[in-house]
Amino acid sequence: MGLLEETARDILSGPDPWPALEEAGLASVGVPEDAGGSGGTLADAAVLLRASGRHGASVPLAETGWLAGRLLAAAGLPVPRGPLTAAAGNGAFEAVRDGDGWVLTGTLRRVPWARSAHRVAVVADGRQVVVADPALATITPGENVAGEPRDEVTFDGVRAERAAPSPVDAAGLRRWGALARAVQLTGAMRGALDLAVRYAGEREQFGRPIGRFQAVQQMLAELAGEAAVADVAVRAAVRAPDDEVAVAAAKANASRAAGRAAAIAHQVHGAIGVTQEHGLRRFTLRLWSWREEYGDETTWADVLGGRPGDPWATLTGR
């Protein structure tokens, strides 16, 4: 385990990790220092993001650094302090030029962590990033099955605080989000695997730990296989974040694996695992949420299957 991973683990397994993450400068890793971030590579940011999934932490880490931070930095805009979020403005949202600024009108759906975000960065039509304070919008709270905020944000003629041409369009932002969630999924799968292995060693039935039963061993091996393959594939995609094939495949595979991993982890845990007091839900509820966000396995399969040209050339990138 690297130093970064160790620090992340210590913070993320604590009770209120966000302030500690900010204090340690870990909320904006992967965002260049001259833009106001902490520097470091995307792979470093992935280590943190994976750790947040592995330790079941509830933090807007993907939204603050990976999405909003990188988006603003690449657009040449300063990255504000505090938790941030990002969204793509589709048909129901408009940024209209007004003098030397932009006026925002309309609704953004299922914006992660909007209610507690200090600023939201929106990729609007015409490839424009606009930045606004969500406090100036009407927020209708919503959540995913893991209880993470996924809010509706409605602007009614709010002036953007800043704006600049965007480095990515809405599809590009979705790709960034997909890779982030894929990384988080691999962390959560690993978390579920760790718990299931531990439980199989502790829980006794028929006078022995259930992990001694071959049926249980075979399930755990499958879970480990899914977790490990998803993990290495996502790591490979993090090295090629602009490669649509890599991101599509990594997210599709991680989303697919998530369902199987969650099912096995629950089967191994028996009834205790499906209770609110048991820690397994910190992983499985997120697996079921994140596998859908920024495109599930079917969405990304359509992207891959719709590519022209020989599939082998697509797979090998040549």
């Binding site: 071959q214 790591r235 495949a249 599709a252 399969a301 082998w312 040549r318």
Partner: protein
């Protein structure tokens, strides 16, 4: 278990791109009928020799033994191209994949000089003499006996499922050379190189499901093996076969046996603009992309001198199940029956795939055994 998360993605060397293009160019000019599972059921000695001429066999063997001193990752590129194309690579597959490296690791100078250059030329094929009628998953229980004789050993026993023995120039046989020690079943096993033909070795076909001949029964009836043909140290056979199995597991042949079906369905989906078929192709491509990264990562770990037994086992488990998944997924959209004699390549490929599929999760260690290895890695066993 800690080692699982440390599986770093494999990185292909910069030369890989040009090498890939060369192989594709060669394949475009070669004449063969692509087939599923071509590494087991597509043998063509002339094709093997042509690969040898291009320097694509024994790639990782040192040049002084006729090899080419290339990296395992370069070999990875070449073999995945051959497999994806469904090229007839079955004749040399075992020699190139595992026997060559095993002789290099354990063999005498004389054995290396005799076999390695021939393997690299595509002129020496090997069979794997491990399984027996009463010894499958429990390989340490093999009963083939090696008895001391003047200047060597005498082998008695029967091997089964010996792929390609009828084409092979030699078989690497695992036999019990000392009486079974109940306290250490892995002790007292040795590996012997049996050159073929030999009048005291009887090779009979065991027909596959559709009557095809790819594996054999091989009976050793007092076969003499000179001391010079013992591989490695007598008694060290278990360690050697275990190491050999590491080459055997998690290569691209554990993912690509049915790749042809994906390619053919992709073509069909484009012709008919069928969105459901395209979605299926995309789903399979995503899985394959991920599995290929895992296979490449294990190859990278092996190349770096690691012993990624557990990751190799889990990649083979997921990979071979994927090979089966492809068959059913493609069947859903194919609109044709599997038909070995059809002029339609998809119907033909389906026929090959359906019949060979049960073997995918058996050969090289069954998936149940592989998951047992993973479970041990997890510490629950």
């Amino acid at each position: 278990m800690a080692n699982l998360s440390e599986l770093e993605p494999g990185t292909l060397p910069p030369e890989a791109g040009a090498l890939r293009d060369e192989v594709r160019e060669f394949l475009a000019g070669a004449s063969f009928t692509p087939r599923c599972d071509s590494w087991l059921t597509g043998a063509d000695p002339a094709f093997s020799r042509a690969l040898g001429e291009r320097g694509w066999l024994g790639m990782t063997l040192p040049e002084r033994y006729g090899g080419h001193g290339r990296s395992p990752l370069e070999r990875f590129v070449v073999i995945e191209e051959l497999l994806a194309a469904g090229a007839p690579v079955g004749a040399h597959w075992i020699a190139d994949r595992q026997t060559g490296p095993s002789i290099l690791a354990n063999g005498t100078e004389e054995q290396k000089r005799r076999f390695l250059p021939a393997i690299a030329r595509g002129e020496c094929f090997f069979g794997i003499g491990m399984s027996e009628p009463d010894s499958g998953s429990d390989l340490a229980s093999v009963r083939t006996r090696a008895e001391r004789a003047d200047g060597g050993w005498t082998l008695r026993g029967t091997k089964v499922w010996t792929s390609g023995a009828h084409l092979a120039h030699a078989i690497l046989v695992l036999a019990r050379s000392e009486p079974l020690d109940a306290g250490d079943r892995h002790a007292g096993l040795s590996q012997f190189i049996v050159a073929l033909p030999d009048e005291r070795v009887a090779i009979r076909p065991i027909r596959g499901l559709s009557g095809e001949h790819h594996f054999n029964e091989v009976v050793f009836d007092g076969t003499f093996v000179p001391d010079a043909m013992v591989l490695g140290r007598p008694g060290d056979g278990w360690r050697q076969v275990t190491a050999e199995l590491a080459y055997e597991r998690s290569g691209p042949e554990r993912l690509l046996s049915t790749f042809m079906l994906i390619r053919l369905l992709h073509g069909r989906a484009a012709d008919t603009a069928d969105p459901a078929a395209r979605r299926t192709v995309g789903r399979l491509m995503a899985r394959l992309w991920a599995l290929r990264q895992a296979s490449l990562a294990v190859a990278g770990a092996l190349a770096a001198g690691g012993t990624p037994d557990v990751p190799a086992a889990l990649v083979k488990d997921l990979g071979t199940r994927f090979e089966n998944e492809v068959v059913d997924a493609v069947r859903e959209h194919a609109g044709v029956e599997p038909d070995p004699g059809s002029p339609d390549p998809l119907a033909r490929a389906l026929a090959q795939a359906v019949v060979q599929a049960p073997g995918f999760t058996l050969r090289g260690g069954t998936n149940e055994i592989l998951r047992g290895i993973v479970a041990r890695g997890l510490g629950v066993r």
